[in-house]
């Protein structure tokens, strides 16, 4: 049933797109019809896949590293109150800095390759994961903690057996946000300076007025991001299967 709904929605959006093309009579170099884009997609599939692989690697590495860093910092901040008092305001302040403004600097420091894009994705992901997990760790039901106290649990055991599992649903929300924003980081990184990836391909296609290829790349990115999100969501649901 979910699949049917998804297919109907996709078909509806395609129909809307086609209608828009007919209604506005937009020339193909402004808004290509779905058919043209599909043709470009099939004709240039090798090019698209080669670049999609690069972007996918950036996104996945970004999510993995960003999530691990986020988990580690949330655990540290939750375990040491003085650290939390000093570092949490700093962490919040860094969020006032638009990450996109850092992209040129990251490219300057880390080069045109993979590293600068991964760093970009990590920077975007790190905060939502840290904030969500920390929030979950702080909100452990006081009853459970009291029970653990009467059972003479050490702070470490309390963290590992009670607070961390109790915070998993919150962490899962943070990771879902991460999966949704990671592609933004990777693509912005590619726009600023790169030699491969879907963002790079889109810039190149745009410069050469190959708007159908640009749309095909966009479609590829969209499909990839959705696939990633739902795969992650599925895994996270299994991890928190006890949650009602």
């Amino acid at each position: 049933m979910r699949l049917v709904r998804a297919l109907v929605t996709a078909a509806g959006l395609l129909a809307l797109w086609q209608l828009l093309v007919w209604a506005t009579e937009a020339p193909p170099y402004i808004l290509p019809a779905p058919g043209r884009v599909a043709a470009a997609f099939v004709a240039r599939i090798d090019l698209l896949l080669a670049n999609a692989w690069v972007t996918a690697l950036e996104i996945v590495l970004g999510i993995v590293i960003g999530t691990l860093l986020g988990i580690a910092s949330a655990l540290l901040l939750a375990s040491f109150a003085p650290l939390r008092r000093w570092l949490l305001p700093v962490l919040v302040m860094t969020q006032a800095l638009p990450v996109f403004a850092l992209a040129p600097i990251l490219v300057l420091w880390l080069g045109y390759g993979l590293a600068s894009k991964v760093a970009m994705a990590v920077l975007i992901i790190f905060f939502p994961v840290t904030a969500a997990f920390l929030d979950g760790l702080a909100r452990t039901s006081p009853g459970w903690l009291e029970l653990a106290r009467t059972m003479n649990a050490s702070p470490g055991a309390m963290l590992w057996h009670i607070r961390v599992p109790a915070a998993l649903p919150a962490l899962a929300s943070g990771i879902r946000v991460a999966a949704a924003v990671a592609p933004i980081g990777a693509v912005v990184g590619e726009w600023v300076g790169s030699s491969a990836g879907l963002g790079y391909l889109m810039l190149q296609a745009n410069g050469r007025m190959q708007v159908d290829l640009m749309f095909a790349a966009l479609l590829m990115l969209c499909a990839m991001a959705l696939l990633l999100y739902f795969a992650l969501d599925h895994g996270l649901r299994r991890m928190t299967r006890w949650q009602v």
């Binding site: 039901s141 029970l147 106290r149």
Partner: protein, 252 residues
């Protein structure tokens, strides 16, 4: 049981909330290896007394008669079952040893004990179930079993049988009375009959600041039959006393 249960003496100089003074100049003694039941209207501080003894609350001094600290010798069963939703019933039962970092041998013993207790509370078929799939009464039985797995000399229970149907309640009262016969037990309950069946001595709380009346010591050894004429006669008197103390609390 690993060691003989101590008597407990609780001393409160003064314990006040924003709403006023809850306890003032209170001395209570709970004898060793006996069940003491605490009755009284809602808000009179029964749970607070348990939490003070459990060391979860500051404001009073609970001492064991053997002079050793109570910490580590108490099993506490709160009003809500506090089962961890991500653990199966079986895993929930051995939470205590796991939290204490018990070694392999201790964990095996705890698991065996948990399996026995699960059967005794009628949950053997639900060992691998997650708590959310159980009814309220079943969850309460699991929480009781978890408390019993702890095997501590002092046991504090806050309305442990309230969510159960009459028959299950009766069975679990018998089971708890048998398994905790030589422990120092503090039982908070709203049910006069339950207190009369299970308690060696009964305290009635009421008023503001809360005063404690008792102990009332019913004849015979618990668990007393519910149809025992003495139990039934005392039940009427106890009910009157509870109504009077509720009126006192409300008036304050």
């Amino acid at each position: 049981m690993p060691e003989p249960a101590p008597a407990i003496h609780l001393r409160i100089d003064r314990l006040a909330w924003e709403e006023g003074i809850l306890f003032e100049d209170l001395d209570l003694s709970f004898p060793a290896g006996r069940w003491s039941c605490l009755l009284g209207p809602s808000g009179c501080g029964k749970t607070t007394l348990l939490r003070l003894v459990a060391g979860l609350l500051e404001g009073g001094e609970a001492r064991a008669s053997d002079g050793r600290p109570l910490d580590g010798r108490i099993a506490y069963m709160a009003q809500s079952d506090l089962l961890l939703p991500w653990l199966t019933v079986r895993e929930n039962l051995v939470l205590g040893p796991r939290l204490r970092g018990a070694g392999r041998a201790l964990m095996r013993d705890a698991r065996e004990r948990a399996a026995e207790l699960l059967a005794q509370v009628g949950l053997a078929a639900y060992a691998e179930a997650l708590p959310q799939t159980l009814s309220g009464g079943m969850r309460q039985r699991a929480a009781l079993a978890r408390t019993l797995v702890e095997d501590r000399p002092v046991v504090l229970m806050d309305e442990p049988f309230s969510a159960l149907d009459t028959v299950s309640r009766h069975r679990l009262q018998e089971l708890a009375a048998r398994l905790l016969a030589d422990r120092t037990v503090l039982l908070v309950t709203h049910n006069p009959l339950e207190a009369l069946r299970l308690g060696h001595q009964l305290f009635v709380l009421g008023g503001r600041p809360t005063r404690v009346q008792g102990p009332l010591v019913p004849e015979g050894a618990p668990p007393r039959p519910a149809g025992d004429p003495a139990v039934l006669r005392l039940q009427g008197a106890l009910l009157d006393q509870l109504v009077a103390s509720a009126a006192l609390t409300e008036a304050a």
